[in-house]
């Protein structure tokens, strides 16, 4: 091969191109390579030092959930033809991937009740920031009014991005805790005021449904209030961060007057993977179509009249429009979105509703059961779908440790995530279809004992 190139050595190719002063003249300080078997054993040993949801009874959620992923999702995502192509730049040999995007867009559009969906963005929290950027492109204003009910990661990500593209983030608190209706939801008055305060500059109004506390918000009212706070024609873009698995039973964003719906897609057929990769869903009303970020597949026909699909509206995208693009996103989450649409097909029209009802019933049961324990009370009385918050009259980290020793991961420490003083004592408990009534009863037993022991000041037994 060197002769064909016309060089005397491979080194010559480098010597002729890389200046000596920036050549690395020593081997990289990395371990030596290993054969497949050794690498497998090493990675298996690392995996063995993690406690996965297979090895404990886990009620962790707070953004990612242990839903059952049907076997056909694995089978399809592992097929070379889906796993190893790249972005469908050559549509004639990418009809599979393109049609999947088109179907995904249809499914997300149906879920959200909004006419337009892209083919996914990175994941949930950055999708919120991307939606805010769309608002900026749409109306050019600089204020973002956002409910504190968003996932803290979404709030943080939004602030990070907004600082870059120069927008101000105004946070609206949630109402105080307490086992009553209307606790722990976006403070309606503060919401309206915050929007009205800088109405002419309010670009978007953002809330989560259900919110981070598991509480179902009055989404329609929040949207209406946001619009009412502004002059006609000067309404902000109403953005909702939604949980797709709840959309079989909760009113859709489209039904609630939302302009842009975003959300974390992991619950739809994606595994936990310690937090990623997953996908972010992004849907909107028609008028935002040409400002959407990311890939969009569109229908067309070939020269012989066959139906086909292409990446469309590419003039929004970085590779065509460069500094004028609506987003910088390039490599996204095609495979995860595939898992999403396959999962939704598997669930099916009725299945989505049935699953929602099951989650609703079990979550309700779990909340009532836990709230009946001494030292445990509801953090709020709003309806909940598959996650809820309670307040423990005991140190949450200590209680969680006790539960872990009994093989139960009792849920997420609210305050550790939000950093808010008002969330002290909060425990966020997620219920999926994998957690049976017996599992919930076991949680109650273990949590009850842990809270009691902690309140009694019993010493922790080390495992």
């Amino acid at each position: 091969m060197l002769a064909a190139i016309g060089v005397g050595s491979l080194q010559e190719i480098f010597d002729r191109q890389i200046p000596g002063e920036v050549r690395l003249e020593r081997p990289l300080a990395l371990p030596e390579g290993m054969g497949e078997q050794d690498v497998y054993e090493h990675l298996r040993a690392l995996a063995a030092r993690n406690t996965s949801v297979e090895e404990e009874l886990s009620f962790l959620g707070a953004g990612m959930y242990d839903h059952y992923v049907p076997a056909l999702v694995d089978m399809l995502t592992e097929r070379s033809e889906f796993l190893t192509p790249y972005t469908p730049y050559q549509p004639e040999i990418s009809q599979g991937g393109l049609q999947v995007m088109f179907e995904y867009q249809t499914a997300i559009s149906e879920l959200t009740g909004l006419p337009v969906s892209n083919a996914s963005v990175y994941e949930g929290p950055s999708a919120v920031a991307a939606a805010a950027y769309l608002a900026k492109l749409h109306n050019g204003r600089r204020r973002l009014v956002v409910s504190a009910g968003l996932h803290p990661h979404s709030l943080h990500t939004l602030r990070t991005y907004a600082h870059g593209y120069g927008m101000e983030v105004v946070e609206v608190p949630v109402t105080g805790a307490g086992a009553r209706d209307g606790a722990c939801v976006t403070d309606a008055e503060a919401w309206a005021q915050a929007i009205a305060a800088g109405a002419a500059e309010t670009s978007a109004a953002i809330f989560a449904q259900p919110n981070f506390y598991g509480a179902v918000e009055d989404a329609a009212a929040l949207g209406a209030a946001a619009r009412a706070a502004c002059e006609p024609g000067g309404e902000p873009v109403v953005i909702a961060q939604v949980d797709p698995i709840t959309l079989g039973i909760l009113a859709s964003p489209g039904e609630c007057g939302v302009d842009v719906a975003v959300g974390e897609g992991q619950a739809l057929g994606n595994r936990l993977d310690f937090g990623g990769p997953s996908f972010g869903l992004f849907a909107a009303r028609e008028q935002y179509l040409r400002r959407m970020p990311g890939r969009i597949a569109g229908e067309t026909a070939d020269v012989d009249g066959r139906r086909g699909f292409v990446l469309t509206l590419q003039t929004r995208e970085q590779h065509i429009r460069r500094e004028k693009a609506t987003s910088n996103i390039c490599t996204a989450q095609a495979l995860n979105a595939l898992a999403g649409v396959v999962y939704l097909s598997w669930l099916g029209r009725r299945g989505l509703v049935e699953l929602g009802e099951l989650l609703l019933a079990r979550t309700h049961y779990a909340r009532e059961t836990l709230a009946a324990l001494p030292g445990v009370e509801k953090l709020h009385g709003q309806p909940v779908v598959r996650e809820f918050a309670v307040r423990l009259d005991a140190d949450v980290p200590a209680v969680r440790r006790r539960c872990a020793q009994a093989g139960v991961n009792a849920g997420a420490d609210l305050q550790a995530l939000t950093g808010r003083e008002q969330d002290r004592g909060g425990l966020l408990v997620a219920i999926t279809e994998r957690r049976s009534r017996a599992d919930i009863d076991r949680l109650a037993e273990v949590l009850g004992a842990a809270v009691a022991a902690e309140r009694a000041g019993e010493p922790t037994v080390l495992a």
């Binding site: 890389i18 200046p19 049907p70 033809e81 972005t87 870059g164 993977d273 070939d302 020269v303 009802e357």
Partner: protein, 504 residues
């Protein structure tokens, strides 16, 4: 094929999953409701309830399998053939990676698992951070960004934070006209203004242009090296000096790292910030357009601003995650997304780095460069270079850019036609029409995992297509012929966008 000109895949017209099935069909069987019945209205009052059902498909498992297996056959993929898509580093994806990533200890680990019970994952991330630091020559790594462009955004936000912390306001970012689209797009998204740099006759940055533009308003220069022409910028040291002299940061777009692993390090070249495309240099399956992962590495002066959370190692050797709630107290730019990044990708790239080791990574880059130069030489030997000359330079690094200008003039076929005709030969075409400054550009990146036989076959195919075009340019202009669909009307698609299935 005397009887019907259509292949079975062409014959079968596209129908979406929404057009299949029948009312009542399903795959999912819902687990039984095992808790006491409660009042529906109490659980969820009517006003919160959905009024109109989402019209998801109604299909059985066999139908879903057939449908998607069928769709998969309408894709070309790396496991099936050569995929020399320039700038995308389409190297083989070892199957071991899928196996280890699927181990329940990795795949079913909840992102909020307590660090004490996720030590394996944190150690893996720590080791990956260390390895990427060594490979880039920049000591501080944050794995969080979701892809290259996300890493770019992080890089510019870091730049902003760095300047702000020093009390400076700088609003311009420089990038060469050869830069990838994500660079300028990121500049805007990060709130900066783009200033383009010209390319010199050798394919590198025009130093005079740089010197003229590197003023006190410049926050950063974003560069790829080797650049998107496949050329290593020989002036890199001078470039770095100029940029740093102007008080700006130097950003390394790591998309082309596959050329220089173990051979030359961005940190040593003077870069302050680099992003990695784990899905390129460190072999993630591209998934039809993701997932990817875009970790960043930075120098000491940028370190204080890194996104949270990173993995830390404590005295006793245990691994923890940085606290990410107390943002106010730190100089960190904050979070760029949820949780810790695309861990599933970390597992694969870490497995790759451990498989290859120091020698293997260096070997990979050496072979990538060898393969590119060999292919280039073969094209010269076959006379292809007459119609498709190398745009710049003599040799190349891991990829090269040809100009289709002479071909267009002499044979009356465009790069697009050539690309489409390649489909009939069973090859994925190179990247086309990028970089923008090369007329009718073809950007070819073979990667190190291709054999000489494949490179030869590809060169032959190009030669054959040119020969064919010399006889009858209509052949290429009408291509492709054998694909499931033939040339598609993209203009119509954009004019009246139909972006979802119409139902009922």
């Amino acid at each position: 094929m005397s009887v019907s000109a259509e292949t079975p895949l062409q014959r079968e017209r596209a129908r979406t999953i929404f057009q299949k099935g029948a009312p009542g069909r399903r795959a999912f069987v819902c687990p039984a409701v095992d808790v006491p019945a409660a009042d529906a209205g109490e659980l969820l009052p009517e006003r919160f309830r959905r009024a109109r059902e989402a019209r998801l498909p109604e299909v059985s498992e066999p139908e879903i399998v057939r449908h998607y297996v069928g769709l998969s056959k309408r894709n070309f993929d790396l496991d099936s053939g050569f995929y020399p898509l320039g700038s995308c580093t389409r190297k083989h994806n070892p199957r071991l990676h899928e196996r280890v990533a699927a181990l329940p200890g990795h795949a079913r680990l909840h992102p909020l698992q307590d660090p004490e019970r996720a030590q394996g994952a944190l150690e893996l991330m720590w080791n990956l951070q260390q390895a990427l630091a060594e490979i880039s020559g920049l000591p501080h790594v944050c794995l969080q960004p979701s892809a290259g462009s996300h890493g770019e955004l992080a890089g510019l936000l870091l730049t902003r934070a760095y300047h702000e912390d020093r009390g400076e306001v700088r609003h311009k970012v420089l990038a060469p006209d050869t830069s990838h689209g994500t660079n300028p797009a990121t500049v805007t998204m990060a709130g900066f203004e783009l200033v383009k740099l010209a390319t010199g006759p050798d394919g590198g940055i025009d130093l005079d242009d740089l010197r003229a533009k590197a003023d006190a308003d410049v926050a950063c220069l974003m560069l790829t090296n080797p650049n998107t022409l496949g050329l290593f910028d020989r002036d890199i040291v001078e470039i770095a000096r100029t940029v740093h002299g102007a008080g700006a940061t130097l950003y390394y777009d790591g998309a082309n790292l596959n050329a220089v692993m173990g051979l030359s390090r961005p940190g040593d070249m003077g870069f302050d910030i680099v992003h990695f495309n784990l899905h390129k240099s460190f072999t993630q399956p591209h998934g039809g357009g993701g997932p990817g992962s875009g970790p960043i590495a930075v120098s000491d002066r940028i370190e204080p601003y890194l996104p949270v959370p990173r993995v830390l190692q404590s005295e006793d050797g245990a691994f923890t995650l940085e606290d990410d709630t107390g943002r106010a107290q730190s100089k960190s730019i904050g979070r760029l997304r949820g949780f810790q990044g695309n861990y599933g990708c970390f597992v694969r790239s870490y497995a790759y780095i451990r498989s290859l080791g120091a020698d293997g990574l260096e070997d990979a880059s050496r072979t990538a460069v060898l393969n590119a130069n060999y292919l280039l030489a073969r094209l010269r030997e076959l006379g292809v270079a007459e119609q498709l000359p190398l745009a710049y330079g003599e040799l190349c690094m891991h990829e090269f850019v040809l100009s289709g200008g002479p071909m267009k003039r002499e044979l009356q076929i465009k790069t697009l036609d050539l690309a489409k005709r390649l489909l009939d030969f069973g090859f994925h075409p190179p990247t086309v029409y990028f970089p923008l400054l090369v007329e009718e550009a073809l950007m070819v990146e073979p990667t190190e995992t291709e054999t000489r036989e494949t490179l030869d076959a590809f060169a032959q195919a190009l030669a054959e297509i040119l020969r064919e075009a010399a006889e009858d340019p209509e052949i290429a202009r009408g291509a492709p012929y054998t694909t499931p669909v033939r040339r598609l009307d993209e203009v119509a698609a954009a004019k009246q966008p139909v972006i979802r299935e119409r139902l009922d």
